[in-house]
Amino acid sequence: MLALKASAQMFGNNTLLSPEVQGILTLILMAISLTFLYYVMMQMQPKKSQDKFETVTVIKCLGDGGSAEERPFQKGDFVGKIVGECADKAQKVIYAIYERKVEVKKP
């Protein structure tokens, strides 16, 4: 209320602020409003995703155990590629290749 009274006194009394100063103040207010509007519009724009992705190759033993291991994708990998033999003499094949989000461990 006190601030309102003070501002009313300032702008209501012609002797306190000249029309030039009032004009400059209006311009400053407009500049601040436009800057704020621009800032709000910038904030409204969709932010680019910071998520990181990695491509992994899943290798599986086709035997009864069916154990699976993962490693980063290497050029030349393809699903169905036989990459070796498992302990139980079963075929070791590339079962899947996919992309997944990298989970960043927070310290």
Partner: protein, 367 residues
């Protein structure tokens, strides 16, 4: 003193408003809009140009690594290659005419790459061919947007420019997906669209023997729940979608000759999800799940209708970008869900009848 200044300010502002008012009548606002929009479009056109140049240089570099000294000549031919749409005002035999056009295009582009890279393997040639197609697509997008911008500026067509400005974010998004897809293809990684071929690979395993039935398309024989299953997919691991429609037609002919009864045809494909739907959702429906221009799809539909075979579709939902970029884990997991759906469907077929499963999609990175 102060009143003199305020009078001047008032007079100048009134004059300014009068001038602006007159300019509005003379169409200044439209010209200003054209100027502002053109400037925005030019900025985005720069982004498209960068993507086009990058894709061309990556394709050229890939071809150079495969032993081609001057890839520019092949690229110039491949990038500017075009197909003229068949006459559709008279639709009789349009599918046959489309077949001719598509096979002409396919043979010409493949021949172009084969001649240029005689010592490269089948997989490398297919990747070079796909890279060429992606470069051609990005070049076309750039040229077409530039064409619209220049036309709009020349004719002062602010509606055309405004429309272009409004659709450009979508065009840029699609172009970005193509640009990213180029790297994925050049590395030979499976893409989201490969959900169908991956399902076939899951059923048959790596040791099954593929039998080529039509160009670039193979089939396998397997057993599910005591029923004989024929599985069709594009040959892999090269980048290739094959000809599943022709394959289904040909396979049905073969089985007909052997008096083998087919109780069901199931097509499995990646399908575009609606915004808000989750990637990797699996849905079942009726019809041929295949997104070609027509010749493949109509063959599956005709073959099913002529022989009176129920035609089922199982789809794995994904976004447009996800379909052409590295396969996501959600899609890979969805293949197992789709497989369970297929097993449920197969149980409806009486024993003694065979089933045809067509895994539709690009087989890049999938044997």
């Amino acid at each position: 003193m102060s009143s003199t200044i305020t009078d001047w300010i008032s007079a100048i502002s009134q004059l300014a408003f009068l001038v602006i008012f007159l300019l509005l009548f003379m169409g200044f606002n439209q010209k200003f809009q054209i100027y502002v929009s053109s400037r925005n479009i030019k900025l985005k056109l720069g982004v498209l140009e960068k993507m086009m140049n990058e894709s061309q240089s990556k394709t050229a570099s890939y071809m150079r690594n495969l032993g081609l000294e001057q890839p520019e000549k092949v690229m110039e031919k491949g990038i500017n290659y075009f197909v003229i749409e068949p006459v559709n005002i008279e639709p009789t035999d349009i599918i046959k005419r489309m077949d001719v056009l598509f096979s002409t295009r396919e043979e010409r582009l493949e021949g172009l790459v084969k001649e240029a890279l005689p010592n490269a393997g089948k997989v490398e040639r297919s990747l070079a061919s796909t890279a060429l197609e992606i470069s051609a697509a990005l070049t076309f997008v750039y040229k077409y947007v530039r064409h619209l911008l220049i036309t709009g500026q020349k004719t002062n067509n602010w509606i055309l420019i405004m429309q272009l400005e409004m659709v450009l974010p979508m065009i840029i998004k699609q172009a970005e997906a193509y640009s990213k897809a180029l790297d994925v293809f050049l590395e030979g990684k499976p893409i989201g669209d490969g959900a169908g071929p991956l399902l076939v690979q899951r059923i048959v395993g790596p040791s099954a023997t593929p039998i080529e039935i039509v160009k670039d398309t193979v089939y396998y024989e397997s057993q599910i729940d005591n029923r004989k299953v024929y599985l069709i997919k594009a040959s892999g691991p090269e980048s290739n979608v094959g000809h599943p429609g022709f394959a289904v037609e040909e396979l049905l002919k073969k089985l007909g000759e052997r008096n083998e009864k087919v109780g069901m045809i199931i097509t499995v494909d990646a399908a575009l999800k609606l915004e808000g739907e989750n990637t990797g959702e699996v849905a079942e429906g009726a019809g041929a799940a295949i997104g070609d221009a027509g010749p493949e799809k109509i063959r599956i539909e005709r073959a099913a209708s002529i022989n009176g075979i129920p035609l089922h579709a199982v789809i794995v939902k994904m976004g447009m970008e996800e379909a052409i970029l590295t396969m996501k884990k959600e899609i890979c997991d969805a293949v197992d869900v789709a497989l369970e759906r297929i097993k449920e469907l197969i149980k409806k077929v009486p024993e003694g009848h065979s089933i045809i499963i067509a895994g539709i999609g690009n087989s890049v990175g999938i044997l």
